[in-house]
């Protein structure tokens, strides 16, 4: 005798688990390029986060007898103009990249962008126009100009402010370790990046707002917060993940540019952009001719990171696209 089915929940539980996320994950695992990019990103992020454990030397230890040496066994990436180990500086520079890009993307795109996009699309009317007009203003500036304006003007003021706090409370280190710099750049990048995400989320919410499952939830008396976070958000989470992935690459690129221009993290805290500016010796080609390794290694590493993020973003867009499923 076949055992009769008692309740539907039991049946659902017996079915092999193939939820939305696990299906997406398996599709991603099937893509070799995506896996390789994921490995590269994890590798770069780990070395950045655990820089003090991984770097063979300290980033500021000078050896003036060994300046601007090419790659060797002792110094795989060579040394810079003060004889500091370039590999260690690149690894510590990656820490800057990781901190700034994660902080700005999480605060700007993930929190502000998603929340404002949901609110804007769901409530519409005045709230919507207020949020969208504000975004349009920030989008009216070409990205780099707004970043320069924010970083160049806010930095001195915030530094002074933090120094004042340090003086009155008698502790040091916030300014020196570059924490304040991280904060300023992350803020500047976040101020620009929330709108792209908000606009996308808003568009998705607009098309889902009148879907039957939302009407059903509303008819059952679900509160607005539940509709927003339990019904709408899961439907656009794929898109959000794609945008976040591409955004992390974009923010890394922005940090690279800002520190190259000298308004990012200040020396002696290393950053890849500042290393390129230094190794490049602007207006002086002889430096480039004699010591190309000074720029090739930082540039190579940042390229690897950007390329991996773009490939992964592309693969994720494919995985989450309902048309290609």
């Amino acid at each position: 005798m076949v055992e009769p089915v008692q309740n539907p929940a039991e049946v659902a539980r017996r079915r092999p688990a193939q939820g939305h996320w696990s299906r997406a994950w398996h599709r991603l695992l099937g893509k070799k390029v995506a896996l390789a990019s994921l490995v590269v990103i994890i590798g770069i992020y780990t070395s950045g986060i655990f820089a003090p454990l991984i770097a063979p030397y300290d980033y500021s230890t000078q050896d003036l007898t060994q300046t601007r040496r090419g790659p060797s066994l002792e110094h795989p990436f060579g040394t810079d103009r003060l004889g500091r180990d370039l590999l260690s500086r690149v690894i510590y520079g990656l820490r800057t990249t990781v901190i700034v890009s994660v902080a700005s993307v999480v605060s700007g795109a993930l929190f502000m962008g998603v929340a404002l996009g949901l609110v804007s699309g769901y409530f519409g009317k005045r709230v919507d126009s207020l949020i969208m007009r504000t975004g349009e203003v920030s989008a009216a500036f070409p990205e780099i100009l707004l970043l320069i304006l924010l970083a160049a003007t806010m930095r001195p003021r915030i530094l002074d402010f933090v120094r004042g706090i340090e003086d009155s409370f008698g502790f040091r280190g916030l300014v020196q370790t570059g924490i304040v710099d991280y904060f300023v750049i992350a803020l500047a990048v976040a101020a620009f990046s929330w709108f792209g995400m908000a606009r996308l989320v808003r568009g998705q919410v607009l098309s889902l707002r009148s879907a039957e499952f939302v009407d059903a939830a509303r008819a059952l008396g679900a509160p607005t917060s539940r509709i927003l976070f339990s019904h709408l958000l899961p439907n656009i989470s794929g898109l959000i993940i794609v945008v976040i992935t591409l955004g992390l690459g974009g923010a890394a690129g922005s940090e690279f540019i800002l520190s190259f221009l000298g308004i990012g993290v200040q020396p002696p805290v290393p950053s890849l952009g500042a290393m390129v500016a230094e190794g490049f010796g602007i207006g002086n080609l002889s430096l480039l001719r004699q010591y190309p390794h000074l720029i090739l290694f930082p540039i190579g590493v940042i390229f690897l990171l950007l390329f991996a993020f773009n490939l992964l973003g592309d693969a994720l867009a494919d995985v989450f696209n309902p048309k290609t499923r």
Partner: protein, 308 residues
């Protein structure tokens, strides 16, 4: 459509005034007290008071802002902090001409290479070369000017010695080639990608099948039916390209030693020459906003199906 254009034109000055407001607040009060920024903290109080009156900082904020907006409308962005006795406009204008030439060269490269390349890439869809092309596009889009610039300089100028040295000689000088290509590369990826996607979409349309059915040659179909329709989404993207080019020029000019507006921006950051940074920001934003407006209006003329 007229209503749409009028609405956009009315919103434009509002948007620009807000842009000027943000720039003014950040540029004047962002770094701290403007008088202190110029004289340092240990200046004598008399000099401080004199400069404060001279700069008009003792007036109410609203008056200062209105004065600045009035100046901007007349093309007066104030005086440079760094170069005594020179106005911001005097510094910006000649350099803007240089940057415009460089941007034009880069934009032409993006359009002239990107569009045929995007169409060609669409033709390979589903064949063995397709993944390679798609990966190629992602590869190019991971090359910001800060990577292509130093790399091209190293390879083409220092190692291969194809061009004498970095520098500037105008639109018809060989030295423009490498910076223009370096700036164009990141923008190229975007255009190729969009052109590929929209060509694929157009190729599956009924009117293309009809064109084949009535016996038109593939060359005529591609030119008359596919290219024209597929170009429209690219037009929107060109607006973003303009923004990218403005950003790319700042880096490109700094790296290649081109005396344009980007290099001026770079120097002004170092000199803390805030009026110049403000002027460049406002002009850059205005250019970007106007370019987008022109593109949107052009769109309605080029595609009769679009009605706002």
């Amino acid at each position: 459509m007229t209503a749409y254009v009028v609405r956009r034109l009315l919103w434009l000055p509002v948007l620009l005034v807000i842009v000027i407001f943000i720039t003014f607040v950040l540029g004047t009060y962002g770094p701290g007290d403007p008088v202190e920024v110029r004289l340092g903290t240990k200046a004598n109080p008399e000099a401080v008071a004199r400069l404060r009156t001279q700069m008009g900082l003792d007036r109410p904020f609203v008056v200062q802002f209105a004065d600045y907006v009035g100046g901007v409308v007349r093309g007066d962005f104030g005086d440079s902090y760094r170069y005594q006795g020179r106005t911001v406009l005097e510094l910006i204008l000649p350099r803007m001409w240089v940057s415009a030439q460089l941007n034009l060269a880069a934009l032409l490269l993006v359009v002239a290479i990107g569009i045929p390349l995007g169409m060609a890439a669409a033709r390979f869809q589903g064949r063995w070369l397709d993944p390679a092309i798609v990966t190629g596009i992602v590869f190019i889009s991971s090359l910001p000017v800060l990577i292509t610039g130093p790399l091209f300089l190293l390879v083409f100028v220092v190692l291969l010695k194809l061009v004498p040295s970095a520098g500037w000689g105008g639109l018809f000088d060989t030295r423009i080639i490498i910076p223009a290509v370096a700036i164009a590369v990141p923008g190229l990826a975007l255009i190729v990608r969009v052109m590929r996607t929209s060509t694929l979409e157009v190729l599956s349309q009924d009117y293309v099948r009809t064109a084949y059915a009535k016996g038109l040659t593939p060359g005529i179909i591609s030119r008359r039916h596919v290219a024209r329709n597929a170009f429209l989404p690219v037009l929107t993207m060109l607006g973003f390209s303009v923004a990218g080019l403005i950003g790319g020029t700042i880096i490109g000019e700094t790296i290649f030693g081109i005396p344009g507006i980007g290099r001026l921006a770079f120097e002004s950051i170092f000199n803390r020459d805030y009026p110049v940074i403000m002027g460049i920001t406002i002009i850059g934003a205005a250019t970007f906003v106007l370019a987008n407006l022109l593109i949107d209006v052009a769109y309605t003329f080029l595609d009769p199906r679009i009605r706002y």
